[in-house]
Symmetry: C2
Subunit: 417 residues, 2 copies
């Protein structure tokens, strides 16, 4: 009976649609619910009500994370819960799936269990975590970071938003400053269902991604100081061209990523030249380099190769090159037994599945610090995300939620180790 | 006697300084006299007065060019004059030498001849031409262009400035809409003394540049349309990165200039990425390419090699690349006998001299269409120009003005051919 249990995809799709009406961006399918704004409050209230309707025991902690825990008749409430969840805040022009899917699929799993009178041994907890996007209050993944003890509650409450507002004040204002302590209780395991936000599953026509890791991230801002010169009167050999040096670095980053291979990616997404005129050799360039790898040693190696290249370029072009780190996160590896679990469950459901890394950050990577964790990815149309046009079909979502259902059931049925 | 004649460098330096007080930029040595503004009017009035004081016959034409002609007792006034001159308008934050030097050195030559009672056969004309900089009314070199018949007076008067004012109205307003016809009378020859505005003479420790040509200019705006993607979740082989393509083009432009060699220069001074964010693969890049060469065939060849490169890049990166011409001028060659004249005179004065091209545009290139023409360059400190810090020493200016004096004398002494 349990193996053939399936979620109700129409009900899940309906909740996604209903939540997306809160902060909806007119004329699109997307929404705008920056953390701790009135829109976020309204979205929270809606999901809170759904949790209540499902008879979940709801706890709000000091940073505003909301955890609803569900137990059937035969559940041992003294055991740590198997937890799932994600976030419901969005970027300013966000889609309706990013984060929301993971929370609402969790509720759908609970409702499916409840209506089928299935009682796992362990309780099932569904959480939505404060400020995952970092679009109003940095850093991102803030709520889950505080949950796992990676930042003190006091520091977090004092964070100033892009609008100058204090996080703690905004949390009070919307009524989500809870009493539960941070860090929070350690779950038995944590599994997060999320859209891929990339093009890989779609390109491979694969239904499910069994996420084995989150890439480490290295962001640097590189500043090149050359010499402003007339584009007509300055012979090539007398130039100290900051724009040319920036172009060389951008070309090198591509070459580096290809040479390192594997998961290594490298991006120059931002270049600002000064004075940025057609007939003036640029005196200055400010650019960013984004390097990511799932292997910390390889990432470090890429960083040092980039630095060596900049050093040699500064000598050959006679420009000054300085580099400032903007962000640095080590890679995160998920638990092998949970990765295997995602693969096994997917196959048993007849779904194509591939092991893959996550190029974006997620709440799950914080939980990986305290309990066995993994993630389930479903395809993103054209790899789009953080965009109102973000799209995953109802069927793809059904597949992902069914994998979540079966995996949570297996984890919750087992005796705690 | 004539061969040992020298200009009075203190007097010339003094006039440069006095003219630089008009529209002076406080706290710098530079000045701001955009064409046909009140500051330009005041500068014109000052130079006009100096021409009157020297007993020159002054003519103002329909576009506001002012030509003062001087004849000694033995001069045949029916012969075409040997002409020199330049402009006294500046860019918004200009130096005191660009243009002004050529006009005031012309007056200094006249004063030197007058006080020494020297009468060349041909009259000597000194002109300052309207709106050479193009900083208020485009195109640049407008006054000389109209003088030589390259644009009709009617079209020129109708040009709208960056402030929305009509050129003809502004010319009337400042009282410099003259009666003399355009095109103007053809001189026997035209020689312009100008600062180099580049670093070559200073680097080579050479006093005089004998300018043999003005580079042809090809400006293009290149637009690259790629695809916006997440910098973490998009594998390298699935990218269509407009920023990377822009970097490749900038690197190619350098390589092209080095391979073509000679006078070829190439510059990418302007790159704008969209959305220009650290963690987003750029969907769009708009950049400029500035190519210059003194040889039209080589310039055309560089243009087509750039186009071929863009075509192959658009295929390999799967991006769309379009190119829009922003400006295109053919190279100008000066008269060999006048280039030889500059070299010979410089050597006779014991000055180091080198033949060179001009990377910037000048009034002289317009006169090259109607009469034998060349230019004399003097060094620019650090190659700086269009900048209040523009500087050429009094001695360097003296050397250039003495070459101008001797060359004008030789040209004016000869019988008209």
């Amino acid at each position: 009976m349990v193996d053939t249990l399936r979620i109700n995809s129409g009900r899940l799709w309906g909740r996604i649609d209903e939540l997306a009406q809160v902060g909806a961006i007119i004329g699109t399918d997307g929404c705008s619910r920056l953390a701790l704004t009135d829109e976020d409050k309204e979205g929270r209230n809606l999901v809170f009500t759904w949790m209540e309707d499902l008879g979940m025991e709801i706890v709000i902690d000091g940073i505003g994370n909301v955890i609803g825990t569900w137990a059937g008749n035969g559940t041992d409430k003294t055991l740590p819960p198997v937890m799932t969840g994600s976030h419901i805040d969005t970027v300013r022009t966000g889609g309706r799936f990013d984060g929301n899917l993971g929370v609402l699929a969790g509720l759908e799993v609970v409702e499916t269990l409840a209506e089928n009178n299935i009682s796992p041994f362990h309780p099932i907890a569904v959480g939505f975590f404060t400020g995952e996007e970092g679009a109003r209050f940095a850093p991102d993944m803030l709520g889950s970071l505080v949950y796992v003890g990676g930042m003190s509650l006091e520091s977090a409450l004092d964070i100033e938003g892009i609008d100058g507002k204090r996080l703690g004040d905004e949390l009070e204002r919307i009524g989500y400053r809870g009493a539960a302590p941070c860090p929070g209780p350690v779950p038995k395991a944590f599994v997060e269902l999320h859209i891929e936000q990339g093009p890989v599953l779609e390109a491979n026509k694969t239904s499910i991604g069994a996420v084995d890791s989150v890439q480490g991230i290295s962001w640097a801002e590189i500043t090149i100081e050359g010499q402003s010169n007339h584009a007509g009167t300055t012979p090539m050999h007398m130039r100290h061209d900051a724009g040319f040096a920036a172009a060389q670095i951008a070309a090198f980053v591509r070459q580096l990523a290809l040479e390192v291979g594997g998961d290594q990616v490298g991006t120059v997404g931002k270049i600002d030249l000064h004075p940025n005129l057609v007939n003036v050799v640029a005196s200055k360039a400010v650019m960013t380099v984004d390097l990511r790898n799932t292997d910390e040693e390889l990432l470090k190696n890429s960083e040092s190769r980039l630095n060596e290249f900049c050093l040699s370029l500064s000598e050959s072009e006679h420009v000054e090159i300085t580099s400032k780190p903007l962000a640095r996160f080590e890679p995160v590896s998920f638990a092998q037994e949970l990765i295997d679990g995602v693969i096994k469950v997917s196959k048993s459901l007849g779904l194509s599945v591939q092991q893959m890394t996550s190029g974006a950050g997620h709440d799950a990577q914080m939980f990986a610090r305290i309990c066995p964790t993994s993630m389930i990815f479903v395809p993103s149309k054209d790899g789009l995300s953080h965009n109102p046009a973000e799209y995953t079909s109802q069927e793809q979502i059904m597949d992902g939620a069914n994998v979540l259902l079966q995996l949570l059931l297996q984890l919750a049925k087992e005796q705690s180790g």
